[in-house]
Symmetry: C2
Subunit: 187 residues, 2 copies
């Protein structure tokens, strides 16, 4: 089973080292991990496109060839997960693949968003939290926007939230490995 | 042609008023606009599920029944677009539908992210921008994460960036209407 390893891990100082670590965990459980920066056979024919478009096409080809995705949904530059990762989550759900995710922050979307907004959040007449622009805050007790939690739920997947100290947030793979185990075990 | 109207517009103080405005613009160009909060025929059978899951399933059903998506990608609580909207963009791209988007902020992802990070951004030895965690900033001159720009590009769509004063950022539909026109004209 091929697993696409989505996440802002590609932005790490040494993404190839992370690719190796994740691939090794997959292999230990009988799965083949595919990291976004891995080469793809179709790539060679695409030399004329802009570099960013080559990356996009490679990631899409990797996803189409994978049976599942495990997404690192740890909040990234704001209260929610990395948008590139979330795009890939929606893409894989639409293809009917297995979708799993994990976050190294345990707090749910509402408390995270309140923390992000600071004093700018307020309650309207119905008691609903809103931001300075009057835009409502989701309050369903979920890990992130309901499209993320919902997509994983409908894809039969697993969404693990685990509190990791800030210094290890982008390196700790405990929750990732739990996803790999669940996927290898048929979840 | 049915168009799914994705965006954080659902969080507005009066989302139904925005639904009416967007639907009217679509109708003026011969298109049928579908807003996420619109009722869906399959919904009645789903009364037992949690409210958030009913919303997810309704949105997915709306998307599967639509020929195209026009996404409001105006930055939302951070440097990037709303994650729920981006999930739907990836979903529609994987289904092979037309994908268009607009943002009422003209600045690209890199300057927006630098503004978001403030003094925390720094350049590494190769001159690449990084954040306080050492995570790299994308620097391709794009509107948002390359998966967003790339998905729209590959789906034959259009991504309009237009600077709108902050007070009208969530109400101005000039760029939205330009997307509707392009879609109606066969783009």
């Amino acid at each position: 089973m091929k697993v696409y390893l989505a996440g802002p891990d590609v932005f790490l100082p040494d993404p190839l080292a992370m690719a190796e670590r994740k691939r090794a965990i997959c292999a230990a459980h009988g799965l083949v991990g595919i990291f976004p920066v891995d080469a793809h056979p179709e790539e060679a024919a695409d030399g004329g496109a802009a570099p960013w478009l080559q990356i996009y096409r490679r990631n899409e080809a990797h996803m189409r060839g994978a049976d599942a995705v495990i997404a690192n949904l740890t909040p990234f530059r704001g209260p929610s997960a990395d948008v590139g990762t979330v795009y890939e989550l929606g893409f894989m759900r639409a293809l009917g693949r297995k979708v799993l995710g994990y976050s190294n922050v345990a707090a749910g979307l509402l408390p995270r968003t309140l923390g992000f907004l600071g004093g700018a959040a307020w309650r309207d007449a119905e008691g609903r939290w809103r931001d300075a622009d009057g835009m409502a805050l989701e309050d369903f007790g979920l890990a992130d926007n309901l499209m993320i939690d919902g997509g994983i739920h409908e894809a039969g997947g697993l969404l693990i939230r685990r509190e990791v100290p800030k210094a290890e947030r982008w390196s700790d793979l405990t929750a990732f490995e739990a996803c790999v185990k669940a996927l290898a075990g048929g979840r």
